[in-house]
Amino acid sequence: MDEVSTSTFAPETDESAPWLVRAKGLTKSFGEGHARIPVLKGVDLEVAPGEVVLLVGPSGSGKTTLLSLIAGMLEVDDGEINILGHTLGNMTAAAKSQFRLEYLGFIFQQYHLLPALTAVENAAIPLLIRGMNRTEALARAEEILQSVGMGARLGAMPLTLSGGEQQRVAIARALVSEPRLLLCDEPTASLDGETGHRVVEKLHEIGKRHDRAVIIVTHDSRIFEFGDRIAHMEDGRINQIQQAREVQA
C-alpha cells in the first residue's frame, strides 16, 4: 500500500536504533496534594521493530496509564519517551495529535466505532482525518476490511455487527493508515475465546513485520503465546520482563 501522505515530522534521528519505542524513568501521578496518587513509579520499556509486547498485571498496576503516555495522550511527570526517534516531551499537543495520526494505530477495548457510520466509513476515519479524498479513503478501507475478513460486511452499521466483527473493523481502522506502532487496550476483553484468538493472531501477524511493533495491554492469559515478550506490571513498576516462550514453558 502506498504512503498515505508525506510525514510532517523530521526524518528519524537514529534509524539504526534497535528499538522503535524507548521509555525511560517514566513517572506519573494523578490528583493534587494529599490526594495525589502515584501511578507509575519509574518505568523503563523498550520495544524493538517487529516485536509484539504484552503488558500484563492486575488492575491499577499502571498498564493503561503507560499505554496513554506512550500514545502521547497524557503528559509524563518525569522521564522520557522516544518513538521512532521523536521525543514526545518536545512536542506540542497539536504535534502529538499529528504524530499519532501519522505513526500510531489504536485498538480500544470498547471499539469506539461511530454508530452512525458504516463499517467501511469507520475504517476510513484516520484517512479522512488526514484529509484524503473520501472515495480514495473508502477504497483503501475496503481493502483493509477484506484483509481482516470483513469484505462481506462493508456497509453494515456497527450495531448490527457482532463483537468480533466490530473488533475487526476497529483493527481495520487502526491499520488503514499503515501505522508503525499499534497500541491495543484489552483487544480481546469483549470477545469469546475463538474470536479473541483470531484477533490476536492478526495482531501478531502485523507486529511481526520488520518496521512495525505492537504493544498490547491485556489480562487475558490465553493470548500470552502471541507475545514476543511479556512485561509484568505491579504497583506502578515493571517487575519482570519475560520472553513469551519462558511463560509458556
Binding site: 493503561t64 500514545a71 495522550m73 497524557l74 480500544f108 454508530p115 457510520l117 476515519i125 479522512l128 487496550d185
Partner: protein, 377 residues
C-alpha cells in the same frame, strides 16, 4: 470529515429532531411576532402613508397622526405663503359614525380631501371613479368598509348609507393600508366632510404641502415651522413620530419584545442543552477521534458544521412556517403581518448566535477532553 460530522448529527435522530424543532419554533416565533409587530407599526402609519404627500403641517404640539388637534382655517394660506411651497391643501380627518340601512352603526375614519385636486386620495381604486367625489353627497370607501358596513352585496358602487344623518352615496371602492385602530376609511371632499361633522370652532386637521422643485421636503418642513410656528414634518418624520409615540405609550414594544426575547431564550435553551447532551453522549466517539489524531480544531469544525446545519435548516423551516402563517391566517390584510428583509436578516443573525453559543459550550467541552478517556472503557 464533513460527511462524518453530518452523519453523526443525522444518525442521532431523536436529538436532531429535537434540535430542529427547537430552532424551528424559535425562528417561527421570532419571525411571526416580529412581522406582526412591524405590520402593526405599518398600520399605525397608515393615516400618513395612505395620503402620500411629502410634507404634513400640524399643530405644534401634536404627538401622532391620530391625535387630532385642529388648526385655524388660516393655516392653509399661511403655509402657501412660505417660500418653497409648490402647493398646500387642507385635510380633514376624524372618527365619525356611519348608519347602515339596517339601522346599525359603525365607526369610520372620515377623510376630507381637497375637492379641486383630490390630493390625499388613495392610490388604488378597486371599483368606480374617485373623481366622482366632486358630485354631491358622494364618498369613496375602502375594502375594510365594504366588509364592515355589510359586505360586497350591500356595499358597492352606488349603494347609500348615512354619516351623521348625512346621505353618502358610494362612487368608488379604494384599497388602503389598514389603520392601527382597524377602523374603515371613508373619503369625501374637504368641504363635504366639514358639513357632515358636528360644528366645532376649528375643523382643519392638517395642511398638506409639496415643495417646489429643488427644495427638499426636510428643508421645507423646517421653513414652515420657523415661519408659521406650526408643526411641520416630512411624511417619514411624521410616520416615525407616530411609531415612537405608540411604542412609548401602548406597551406594544415591550410585549412584542418580550415574546421575541422568549423565542430567543427558548431556542437558546433547547438548542444549547440538546447540543450539549449530543456532545456529551458522543464524548467517547470524539475521544476516539482525538486519540486517532483529530485535533481540537478539526473537532470544532465538525461541531460548528453540525450546529449551523441544523440551525440553517431550522431557520428555513421556521421562516417558511411563519410565511405560511402570513399567507393564510394573516392573508388579505386580516392581521398586521409584514415580513421585511431586515427582520429576516436579524433573525438569521440571532439564530447564528444561538448556534454559535451552543457550539462554543460543546467545543469547550471537547477542548478539555483528554483523548486518554478512550482507554478507560
Amino acid at each position: 470529515m464533513n460527511v462524518v460530522a453530518l452523519k453523526m448529527l443525522f444518525g442521532d435522530r431523536a436529538k436532531y429532531l429535537m434540535l430542529l424543532a427547537g430552532l424551528t419554533f424559535s425562528t417561527m416565533l421570532i419571525v411571526q411576532q416580529g412581522s406582526i409587530f412591524w405590520g402593526l407599526m405599518m398600520w399605525s402609519m397608515s393615516g400618513i402613508t395612505n395620503v402620500n404627500v411629502p410634507v404634513w403641517v400640524t399643530d405644534p404640539n401634536i404627538n401622532q397622526v391620530e391625535e387630532l388637534k385642529p388648526l385655524a382655517d388660516t393655516a392653509v394660506t399661511r403655509v402657501r405663503s412660505v417660500p418653497g411651497v409648490e402647493w398646500a391643501v387642507p385635510l380633514y380627518k376624524g372618527v365619525q359614525r356611519a348608519r347602515l340601512r339596517d339601522g346599525n352603526y359603525e365607526q369610520i375614519s372620515l377623510v376630507g380631501i381637497d375637492s379641486s385636486t383630490l390630493i390625499g386620495r388613495p392610490q388604488q381604486v378597486l371599483a368606480g371613479r374617485i373623481e366622482e367625489l366632486r358630485a354631491p353627497e358622494t364618498v369613496a370607501v375602502d375594502q375594510l368598509a365594504v366588509e364592515r358596513l355589510g359586505g360586497p352585496e350591500k356595499i358597492h358602487v352606488g349603494s347609500v348609507f348615512e354619516i351623521n344623518d348625512h346621505r353618502a352615496r358610494i362612487v368608488a371602492i379604494v384599497r388602503t393600508q389598514k389603520s392601527f385602530q382597524n377602523i374603515p376609511f371613508v373619503y369625501t371632499t374637504y368641504e363635504r366632510a366639514l358639513g357632515m361633522t358636528p360644528p366645532e370652532r376649528r375643523k382643519l386637521s392638517y395642511v398638506l404641502a409639496q415643495p417646489v422643485e429643488g427644495v427638499a421636503a426636510e428643508e421645507l418642513a423646517q421653513r414652515i415651522q420657523e415661519e408659521t410656528g406650526l408643526g411641520a414634518y416630512t411624511e417619514e418624520q411624521f410616520g416615525w413620530k407616530t411609531v415612537r409615540w405608540i411604542l412609548k405609550n401602548t406597551g406594544i414594544g415591550v410585549n412584542f419584545g418580550t415574546t421575541v426575547l422568549l423565542g430567543f431564550i427558548v431556542g437558546m435553551a433547547i438548542a444549547g442543552q440538546t447540543f450539549y447532551l449530543f456532545t456529551v453522549e458522543n464524548l467517547p466517539h470524539f475521544g476516539a477521534l482525538k486519540a486517532i489524531g483529530a485535533g481540537t480544531g478539526l473537532l470544532a469544525k465538525m461541531i460548528l458544521l453540525q450546529s449551523f446545519t441544523v440551525g440553517l435548516t431550522g431557520y428555513g423551516i421556521g421562516v417558511g412556517l411563519a410565511t405560511l402563517f402570513g399567507l393564510t391566517a394573516a392573508g388579505g390584510g386580516r392581521l398586521p403581518f409584514v415580513q421585511t428583509w431586515p427582520l429576516l436578516a436579524g433573525v438569521l443573525i440571532a439564530l447564528l448566535m444561538i448556534c454559535g453559543l451552543s457550539s462554543a459550550i460543546s467545543i469547550h467541552k471537547l477542548a478539555k477532553l483528554e483523548p486518554a478517556v478512550v482507554f478507560r472503557g
